[in-house]
Subunit: 450 residues, 2 copies
């Protein structure tokens, strides 16, 4: 394990426009068109950069219905969004979500590779397999890939993309006007991949960036998802529902990585964070209660159904025990769906209770800035996380976190006061991956722990 | 036809890093890494915007070999590039090339639709079908689609993308906090397209932009290419090899559009332009001769072969007549290849002559600023073009064009001195397309001729 004295917390901001839940957009401080306003995203990214956050993070899904949560109904696509943010920031990492189920590896390698150049080494790709079955019909298929097939494809897809990113050795371009040699042709490499799911010849028309390759993120929670994460992820986005489940997840992922020969410190596990911060713990709890009281139960049931491919929960009695779903195939957000079923059973929840628990992003950290900072420190020191991804939608909670909580974390030596690096790998303490065709620029300096 | 007194010339800048030919990169004023340097692109786009150009234009091709021209070997991908440029400019149009042969319509609709929002209505998509057969092997196929199939797919692909862009009526989002209504669900529309090549359900998670939809560009020269252009294009990029062939192309395209019921003024035909500008005509001709004398014949043969799917021309005698290629299938840049064969036959060119003529971008306009402006005016007034796309690689020729030629065109009333609009449709005098589900924002003001 890393030296615990110098181990640093990592913080990211999930920029989500008007919010992936059903209620955030009601905040009058939040512009109703935030999800399609690039100026809004740039402003939030700059605020996160001012606070020296490691990265901003963009979630995604290529399927909607009329009942989808407001942000997902009408929003900017992650790659184009992040390229515009790249041109308007200078240090903060830029992580975008993109599915391996409905893209071509060659196009993905080009676009994330380009984002990595445009941002001068700040790009990351959050690898997902797409949960919602309806996505298939946007891509010429009548049926979504089975869960297992999706993960097998994802693994091969990532291998192909990483192979394409190494198409050129780092000194492949002498660009020597005197001799007329632009490219050293021996240092351009075809991939010639032929696998179970993809055949890609290459080479990619793009050299490596300052950080070598974009950072691979992953967010799966099912057994297959965890296996893929342990194999390929350098960053993990996990839901972090509560301390015990987060610690169990953390231990499991790090053990899986160790078991296959990886350094567990090279996978940074970041939990979602939606704190409710007020001047006192009492006030924060009152805000939480009022907010939960104002939620629309019908919308919560829709949102709850999302993990089950928009299963219709309105058909069940609200105050009956959480329904038996053993007949429902879990081919969407399988890990999340399994967790909901398990929790509902273990805690004997009614459907109403489950809707309030899982139908809106639930805050784990509620209290004064000191209380929230204490919880963050506990999770970080006691093996539940390497950091957090703060859900950024409403302006005031983001302001309080930056202005009231971050300074406490900094004063305790847990979080940087200014950037020590200018690549995403630098911020996360990840090394530059060796070029498989020969590394001549290992740049160990860029890798030193902060 | 449009009122000829007020008819305005359109100017675009093809931003091509170190250049799509084999020689531009040798210019010491041009950074060797221009093709992967977003700062270089942003600088050139801002210079073009300062000169009130209609648009910048990014060409593309998803296949390379070690012999590919320097720019194509290692370059930024068009969508990510243009999103970064969008965030760094405010008025100029942004047109990117993307192939319909190896992408998914749903992803293309999302990315160009997002670029259109990010740029506040300045996006354009140059629809191509991919010329080089090797591209197939980057996308899991052993063979490239046949020329005819490529164009049939392209037509259907564009229809699907435009259908997805109209997923929402323009007033679909009341975002009314009092009633809690974010979306008027009746104004979200599925596409449910099932065609010969694509099945796409929709809806797209994106509303229309200020200009309604991105502008469709196209660049085909073959019969199939011209047919597609007449059907779907709002802008055409044509090579413009000489006045007579440009005028014939112009007349043909406008007649094809008229024949199928379109207003020929709603297709703007822009020819490629690589002028050689000097203080006098004699000096310009001397620069041209010196430049051509310095070309590497071996590289010219490779470049000549590109239109023929990298056919190996080194096997033939240089001073023999241009070889008989009747046994070679023209499935790459078919229109271009046909033009080379036709010209070589009509003018009895040797292979050496053909290599010099077609193996490097040949300048049609050589002379003093006055001479170049005269030629531009002649082509524009005498029915050869609606405007030009200036090839922007080496800084000094771009500077001379902006500082010495553009002012002459402005003094003659041919080209704007400042922007009258802030969308690409506005610059090009194109109307906002009606939303197929009901137009409530026709915004005729945005469409007035400049």
């Amino acid at each position: 394990m890393a030296d615990q004295t110098h181990r640093q917390l990592h913080l990211g901001a999930i920029l989500e426009g008007v919010g992936a839940n059903q209620s955030s957009w009601l905040d009058p401080d939040l512009p109703g068109d935030a999800s399609i306003d690039i100026g809004w995203y740039i402003d939030q990214a700059r605020l996160a950069e001012t606070a020296a956050f490691d990265l901003v993070f963009i979630v995604d899904s290529p399927y909607i219905t009329p009942d989808t949560a407001p942000h997902f109904l009408n929003r900017l696509e992650p790659l184009t969004l992040l390229s515009a943010v790249a041109a308007s920031t200078s240090r903060i990492g830029l992580v975008g979500t993109l599915t391996t189920s409905y893209w071509e590896p060659y196009n993905v390698a080009r676009q994330f590779g380009s984002l990595d150049h445009i941002s001068h080494g700040r790009a990351g790709w959050n690898v997902v397999t797409t949960g919602l079955e309806g996505a298939a019909r946007n891509y010429g298929r009548t049926e979504h890939f089975d869960h297992g097939v999706r993960y097998a494809r994802a693994r091969e897809f990532v291998d192909v993309v990483q192979g394409l990113w190494d198409s050129y050795e780092d000194d492949a371009f002498p660009r020597d006007r005197a001799s007329g040699i632009f490219l050293d042709k021996a240092k351009q490499h075809r991939l010639d991949h032929k696998g179970a799911h993809f055949s890609v010849a290459g080479p990619l028309a793009l050299s490596r960036s300052r950080q070598g390759q974009p950072v691979i993120f992953q967010a799966g929670d099912s057994d297959e998802g965890r296996k893929l994460g342990a194999q390929v992820a350098e960053g993990i986005f996990t839901i972090g529902a509560d301390f015990d489940s987060a610690r169990a997840y953390y231990a499991d992922l790090k053990a899986r990585a160790t078991a296959i020969g990886r350094d567990p410190d090279h996978i940074k596990i970041l939990a979602g964070l939606t704190p409710i911060i007020a001047d006192s713990d009492e006030e924060a709890r009152a805000i939480d209660a009022a907010g939960r009281g104002a939620l629309d139960l019908g919308k919560l049931l829709v949102q709850l159904g999302r993990a089950f491919n928009y299963h219709d929960f309105a058909q069940y009695g609200l105050d009956e025990p959480f329904p038996d779903l053993s007949g429902v195939t879990l081919n969407s957000y399988k890990g999340q769906a399994e967790r909901i079923i398990r929790t509902a059973r273990d805690e004997s929840l009614t459907l109403r209770q489950a809707a309030y628990r899982f139908g809106d992003w639930r805050s784990q950290f509620i209290g004064s800035p000191e209380t929230v900072a204490n919880e963050i420190e506990r999770w970080f020191r006691e093996g539940a996380v390497d950091g957090f991804l703060l859900q950024v939608t409403r302006p005031e909670p983001f302001r309080r976190f930056r202005e009231d909580v971050v300074p406490i974390l900094q004063a305790r030596g847990l979080f940087r006061t200014e950037y020590a690096h200018d690549t995403l790998r630098g911020h996360l303490g990840l090394s530059v991956p060796e070029n498989r065709h020969g590394a001549i620029l290992p740049s160990p300096a860029a890798v030193a722990a902060e």
